[in-house]
């Protein structure tokens, strides 16, 4: 049984990275950043998830994920943020933030090992919550695009394709809602969404 197998660090990194990839795809679909007909439904984590079929978007996301995977592997990434930005005004409309924490007590043998199934259930819960949060998020009335931001260690290796950025906070009328979290034996990931509240 795979669930009995101890998850390695690189296995854990892969789980986290894969989770991000599906999150980004889901958010892009749910928030209408790309046309719904450019997405297809797949089965993952025992859920129906939507992923983009647009080659350009696929390439763009996988280019980002390639680097994020490296950072997760070297334990130098702390946060990953998906900011939804108005095309015209460049104002940040929504900010999906995922905090990545390294579990410190790995050495502790007494700690109960989590099975892959349990992890999957946790991930499933976040993704369900993510889909459900559309009900309280304000409608994006203007055309929007997105940006991915990573908080890394000072000494992390940075390729030329990534540049220093501001944290892309929402400037005013900010509300935020904490979502669920999941953890493997090496990482724990917290999710949060902030959005611009309109009266």
């Amino acid at each position: 049984m795979s669930s009995k197998k101890r998850i390695t660090l690189s296995g854990s990194s892969n789980i986290v990275a894969e989770f991000f990839e599906y999150c980004i795809n889901s958010i892009l679909f749910q928030r209408g950043i790309y046309e719904p007909e450019d997405f297809k439904m797949i089965k993952k984590y025992n859920l129906n998830l939507l992923v983009t079929t647009d080659d350009r978007v696929q390439a763009y996301i996988s280019e980002i994920m390639k680097q994020v995977k490296k950072w997760i592997g070297s334990q130098s990434i702390k946060k990953l943020v998906l900011a939804i930005i108005s095309k015209e005004s460049r104002d940040v409309m929504e900010r999906w933030q995922f905090d990545i924490e390294i579990q410190k007590d790995i050495e502790n043998e007494n700690k109960r090992e989590k099975s892959e199934n349990e992890i999957q259930n946790e991930i499933q819960a976040i993704l369900r919550q993510l889909t459900a949060s559309i009900s309280f998020l304000p409608l994006l009335e203007e055309p929007c695009t997105f940006n991915v931001i990573a908080y890394t260690d000072k000494n992390a290796e940075v390729p030329q394709t990534w540049i220093d950025s501001d944290p892309k906070y929402i400037k005013y009328n900010q509300e935020h809602v904490k979502l669920r979290s999941f953890s493997t034996s090496y990482h724990s990931v917290d999710a949060m969404v902030s959005y611009r509240f309109r009266e």
Partner: protein, 430 residues
């Protein structure tokens, strides 16, 4: 916390990378040390970097069939009942007008005098009786070509910016220069008055604030443009200054700060046309040049864009009506027209084929009924497009407002007068 630390990281990087900082020497370094200490005291986290993937995501744009269909319905319509003349009320020759987009050579004073600079001579045309005067027959007194002119609110004095970087104040009644205010290294293409403060925009991208009452006139230097400043406009309340430049930026400056309060990069050509809405004081309209052809409307309080119009021609100036909820835009290549738009619906009310060459400058009469336009075809034309209609209750009430406004102005004017004379008296004593 995160924000300030990333900002500081940027500053650090600047200091490392940028020789500019090295040259400016100790002052900046001290600032840097101070910030460093401050950051430590506040335990801001320097161990992290905030990075973003440096590429725009693929666009999601589809051919805008629906919106283009809507646009076509929006064209010239008969929403406005009054008759707008499509012919100029009066046409004057303007020989030797400097056909340069980046200058500002026309202004209409509150005393109903139109000033226009032709061939580096400033002509004053009295709109009451048609008299023509020349400011300073001896052009050597101005020293250099005239690149910008602007009346004070009371219409007594004329600010003049020259190609040599001099900003001058002329008393037009006595036809003498009151003072020269040096400081710019090259031509001053645009001026804007705010009571006793004269703001001047220079070709090198700097904006100086001159307090004309005092000897050390330069009170502030605003560095927010990296190319020629060609548009400057004070908000009615004198708290905010809007500037536009050849670097395609629109900056808004708070009078209390020398850093821009808001910077907008939406235009993709030089921004010369800037106009504050008279009835909703936080709205600013800006128009872009040949590559851009777009007018944007900004809410300067929330710093967001309210609306945009693609006009199809270079936007050279914008004027809000004082009595109607309308805005006029003047255009250069390719149509050389003027257009009146309804606000906020942005319906095109009328399109007037105004000139044979690009419309360079425009100015509104003190009564708000007429607009003067000067163009590269060497004519100065007057258009009575906002004729007051007594039957129209709307316009009547707003014109009453306008009268009140004039009263307000007159109180400001007297203030202005007093301030100006204090400067003069001081100088006499000296």
């Amino acid at each position: 916390m995160d924000f300030s630390s990333s900002q500081l990281n940027l500053i650090r990087k600047d200091i490392k990378d940028n020789s500019k900082y090295k040259n400016t020497g100790l002052a900046n370094y001290k600032d840097f040390l101070y910030q460093e200490n401050l950051a430590q005291a506040l335990s801001i986290n320097f161990d992290q970097r905030i990075l973003t993937f440096n590429a725009e995501p693929p666009s999601n744009e589809r051919p805008p069939l629906r919106s283009s269909w809507k646009e076509s319905l929006k064209s010239v319509s008969s929403i406005v009942k009054r008759k707008i003349p499509t012919h100029a009320e009066r046409i004057l020759d303007a020989p030797g007008i400097g056909d340069d987009y980046y200058t500002n050579l026309l202004d209409w004073s509150s005393r109903n005098i139109v000033a226009i600079a032709l061939d580096s001579k400033i002509y004053l045309w009295n709109a009451n009786n048609g008299d023509v005067n020349v400011v300073c027959e001896d052009t050597s007194k101005i020293g250099g070509n005239v690149c910008s002119i602007s009346w004070t609110q009371d219409g007594k004095y004329l600010g003049v910016g020259t190609s040599e970087g001099d900003t001058q104040i002329w008393d037009v009644e006595q036809d003498r220069k009151l003072r020269s205010m040096y400081g710019h290294i090259t031509r001053v293409g645009v001026l804007s008055w705010n009571k006793y403060i004269l703001s001047s925009g220079c070709r090198d991208g700097s904006i100086h604030q001159h307090d004309v009452r005092i000897e050390n006139h330069r009170t502030q230097t605003l560095l927010g443009h990296c190319a020629e400043v060609c548009g400057l406009s004070w908000k009615n309340d004198g708290q905010l200054l809007a500037s536009g430049g050849n670097d395609n930026l629109v900056n808004i400056w708070d009078i209390r700060s020398s850093l821009p309060k808001m910077t907008k990069t939406n235009h993709c050509a030089a921004v010369k046309a800037l106009a504050w809405c008279p009835w909703q004081s936080n709205i600013l309209a800006t128009g872009g040049g040949t590559q851009d052809k777009t007018i944007h409307f900004w809410n300067t309080t929330t710093e967001s864009k309210i609306n945009s119009i693609f006009t199809g021609s270079q936007v050279t100036s914008l004027i809000w009506s004082l009595d109607y909820k309308e805005i006029l835009s003047s255009h250069g290549f390719p149509d050389n027209n003027i257009t009146i738009w309804k606000y906020p619906t942005l319906d095109r009310i009328i399109n007037i084929q105004a000139h044979e060459d690009r419309v360079l400058f425009s100015a509104i009469s003190p009564d708000g009924q007429s607009v003067a336009t000067a163009a590269g075809d060497e004519t100065l034309k007057f258009w009575k497009i906002w004729k007051k209609n007594k039957d129209n209750r709307d316009s009547a009430s707003s014109s009453r407002n306008h009268l009140n406004k004039e009263n307000d102005n007159s109180s400001k004017i007297s203030e202005n007068d007093v301030l100006m004379s204090t400067f003069l008296n001081k100088n006499k004593i000296r």
